[in-house]
């Protein structure tokens, strides 16, 4: 998914290589930007939280697997 970063009325030369969407008028670009930026940001935060929770889970899972392998080799 693409996340909006900023908007401008003229495509600056230094930004030409970046991903961008062109609109017929500046007004249209602003409407589009502000209608979606809030939800995109909250979704981004939500995803970051989800990822950190998953990482925690993975860490615990790896720990558990490690101890299981240890006990089985001991037996």
């Amino acid at each position: 998914m693409q996340i909006y970063d900023e908007f401008c009325p003229i495509l600056l030369n230094q930004f030409k290589s970046r991903d961008h969407t062109k609109f017929e008028t500046f007004d249209l670009a602003l409407d589009e930007y502000y209608s979606k930026i809030e939800s995109q940001r909250s979704e981004q935060q939500h995803k970051a939280k989800e990822n950190s929770a998953l990482q925690k889970l993975n860490k615990i899972r790896n720990d558990q697997v490690g101890t299981h392998v240890q006990t089985t080799t001991l037996v």
């Binding site: 693409q2 970063d5 003229i10 495509l11 600056l12 230094q14 609109f23 995803k47 993975n58």
Partner: protein, 169 residues
């Protein structure tokens, strides 16, 4: 723009940049420019001092500014637009100012044309003749892809280990 002081003293009614104005701006020294900014600022002296220090540290102590900084201060359009115009002119924004501060004619001519091109566009916008197009730029980084891969990898590992345990017991 956020890393730069807002050029309040540059607020003015729109007027075209003439070739002579651009030439004087390019040949006047950076020290003079900064002194002027301090004077015009009055109470905000510390702000421009901070900026001066920042510029100094960026260039590793050398007292020569880059083309981008000089043009940004001279025209009052800010660093982003000055970089745009320099690139339009086919020049390098971070090019150091020559020691004698004399730019060759081709460079100046290219800059004059690029500035004129931008000001043509701006004049049309101000007069309402054209409605500017809009551009939305996307964020560069895409997060979360590698973590989902590692998750399924570790899941496979878990299944693998449990199958070993089952065989062993």
């Amino acid at each position: 723009m956020s890393r730069h002081r807002y050029p309040v003293e540059s607020c003015r009614v729109f007027e075209r940049t003439t070739t002579t104005k651009l030439q004087t701006a390019l040949t006047s020294s950076k020290e003079d420019d900064n002194d002027e900014a301090v004077k015009a600022n009055g109470n905000g002296t510390d702000v421009s001092n901070v900026e001066k220090e920042k510029q100094g540290s960026k260039k590793g102590g050398k007292s020569y500014a880059t083309l981008k900084i000089i043009l940004g201060e001279a025209l009052g359009y800010g660093p982003a637009l000055s970089e745009h115009m320099i690139l339009d002119a086919g020049l390098i924004p971070n090019e150091k100012v020559p020691k004698d501060k004399v730019w060759d004619d081709a460079t100046v001519q290219a800059l004059v044309q690029a500035v004129a091109k931008f000001e043509d566009w701006m004049q049309d916008i101000i007069s309402g003749e054209i409605v500017p197009e809009g551009y939305i730029l996307m964020q560069n980084k895409i997060l979360g892809k590698d973590s989902s891969v590692s998750q399924s990898e570790s899941l496979k590992q878990v299944i693998f280990y449990f199958s070993i345990i089952k065989v062993a017991s």
